[in-house]
Chain length 251, copies 4
């Protein structure tokens, strides 16, 4: 059974004339979809945007996705809470999710983290250096010790997130700021990767190493297991000592 | 400035005739308040219940509390989302919170964790052994290697929470089940402690060692700092190199 | 390139007449090797024992091993420190290692952990229940919520280890004890799994589910990457701004 | 009972004519001792150096110390392994330890971490910005969001340590490098803090904010408890069900 990835983009900045559209003429989602098809040949990649029906997110689409990639910036508040509920439910049951750049401020990231996810930012075009701080992590496979990006938006600590399971990347910016730019989390049965590089005005998703990070992250975030059921508080009628061990499977 | 603790109880099981009222004639909140006043003489302890105005939770009450203790069981859904928002906001800004027993299923715990917090349970009255698994943790100070409780409700793994910062206690039950019964988390600037012993039908909060755990947890959860402001995404007009270092304080 | 696993056993208890030899007539290493060959068909499995030259551990043997499995009990002190140095070096450079049962007391485990790794134990033959506490972890794939072992040695907290990256299993014993029985760690570039079930007097490594755990652990512990060089303190002659980005690879 | 801190310095660079002696005429240990006496009035501060008998480290001196501060650079290999054993033993039993700057390469840090602790470095005199990445941590109390140091040695990732419990500070350097400059670990019952700022050629320990960090770290690292016994593998003659609960204390 092949892996399926759904790339979701709010598709606003990159649809109107300007630097974002110059970098991503068909939208950020199409650039990311293309890089994944190239990097992960056996993977089925689909795209969706906020302009699609149901904001582009349905239970069916998520049910068949192993990994969801999310890019949002100016329209976080346009996502209905029912969509956030749905995405959270699939993540907790095992769907991987990769949140890019300003998706740090998205409702779904804040829902999964339980914190404000706030940070400092500056539209600077400063040079960003993305340092590997967990070289044995699968997401860093094949990545050199540092990725240089000629220009990106500056993000800076303090970044109000729970302690990540792994901090795979830490960035510095020409202004001297630092940011935990690649962080993993486990939320229920789902793997979560936040990766900050990728301001829409710069061609960052065209960078080979950034592409490789995202491709690695897809492989990592895909649990390779069937989606589990919704977890419920389960009443256990009897104790272990009264059970046959053959019943263990169904507990 | 003295520490203030607010003990909140839904006060339903322990208000009507039955084993809970037999154990806690004035309500679980009054028993916990009394043990804290005894264990932490300088601490101001107040109580509130679901029956109070605004479900017993106001911005003023939280603003003056260093630590909130929460006990809920059958009325989780009666807590309005606006109250959950308010408690979360204070936790993220530095208020400590201690969640007891079935508060594992409360809206506020699920909000802070981002997961379902589900688990298996059995109203068994089985013996519970609460083992210390992090003896150097402040919450375990003065606690022997194991606390024996003659009877409690059985809680069992898998407990669907993010990886705790510390697992201070793991319980076993006579039926053979295990449960991570004392877990700490950091949520924004607030410290969070979940402690599972304490079914309402057994006099568990009258146990000296359980009292000591709760007292220790209050001391631990109190950050000792003034409540911070609401964290916002902060636009930084200029980079560090353009700032005077004296401005660092206000960033 | 196929995966290679080296199964090392001190081979003392299970070589002389008695219950250990009854359970493992050809030694614990042969039973584990056989289960791995069956569970992981493409994997090359070799064995070594303390009775072999150089205590069965050479730089060459480790260099070609993706994962080392270690079982020791009464002869921890017979392992020369130079062998411990060698194993540690390979782990830090990316070799996976799986430490079974009383290997908790081995020199190499204590070296990697930096702590005493001490715990309480009782040769009881009590029933052990091994509960899954991290169901989405690859090591728990296909494992039911609990594995019942009719008899094992009792291990009990407090277990003096650093906080594990993941606690995949927690066991309870008929005497009421609990133990973090399946713990993962990252040591340099190497993955480490400690798994406590497996007293030599009981046929635990013949249990299908225990076999599956060990097989899963081998797959998990194999980084799939070439062994890195010995890490050194590296003098950087010039700063990033003076480097060409093409040099990043070699930093 | 008052807190006692032992400040240990190899005292080599700062004893011979040159920039280190210019910055620290009486040695780095005396500067740190003075700042602690000023910042923590009730604390007893003693000093020792490599030139003292037994390398300045005795069982008696450690037994009475709540926290040990360690500064070493060129003489790591002159510390006998028996001294490393002794310090490790006290840390595992509850003594706090604070390792400064190039002590990252010390035998005791590598022993406690189990890894190489290697990193990249450059004697650059570049500006260092020390960013707070865990503002609610006690070590960051009263520290602004960033500390500017006009000049320090550049340290750079990858820093080969186990995942810290908390990354309190991350530094950037003018050359673009990043480094996890303030990291906490729990080793047995002892708290460990590594803090990288402090090259001997610059007056960094005269900086008020750096002093405050070290003072905070001493308070944090002091467990406030009597030193525990050496942890041993403990044979439990009988199971919990055969014990009186009053025996739990002695287990």
């Amino acid at each position: 059974m092949s892996r399926k990835v759904l790339v979701w983009n709010e598709y606003i900045d990159d649809r109107r004339a300007g630097p974002a559209k110059d970098c991503y003429p068909n939208g950020i989602h199409e650039t990311i979809a293309r890089l994944l098809r190239s990097y992960l040949p056996g993977t089925v990649v689909e795209t969706a945007t906020l302009q699609d029906e149901n904001s582009g997110i349905t239970d069916e689409a998520l049910a068949s996705a192993n990994v969801l990639i999310w890019w949002s910036h100016v329209a976080h508040e346009q996502i209905p809470d029912t969509v956030v509920d749905l995405v959270q439910d699939h993540v907790l049951r095992g769907m991987g999710i990769i949140l890019l750049h300003s998706s740090a401020e998205s409702k779904i990231f804040k829902r999964l983290m339980g914190t404000t996810c706030s940070f400092r930012w500056r539209e600077s075009g400063d040079r960003e250096l993305v340092w590997v701080t967990d070289p044995s992590h699968p997401i860093a496979a094949g990545i050199p010790c540092v990725i240089e990006l000629a220009a990106d938006e500056t993000y800076s600590e303090y970044f109000d997130i729970p302690k990540p399971e792994a901090v795979v990347f830490i960035s510095s910016f020409a202004g001297g700021e630092v940011f935990r730019s690649g962080c993993t989390f486990q939320c229920g049965e789902g793997k979560v990767f936040f990766f900050s590089p990728g301001h829409e005005s710069y061609p960052i998703y065209h960078n080979d190493m950034i592409s490789k990070v995202i491709g690695n992250a897809v492989v990592w975030a895909d649990s390779g297991r069937p989606r589990g059921p919704r977890r419920m508080f389960v009443h256990s009628p009897v104790g272990w000592y009264e059970l046959q061990s053959t019943q263990a499977e169904v507990l």
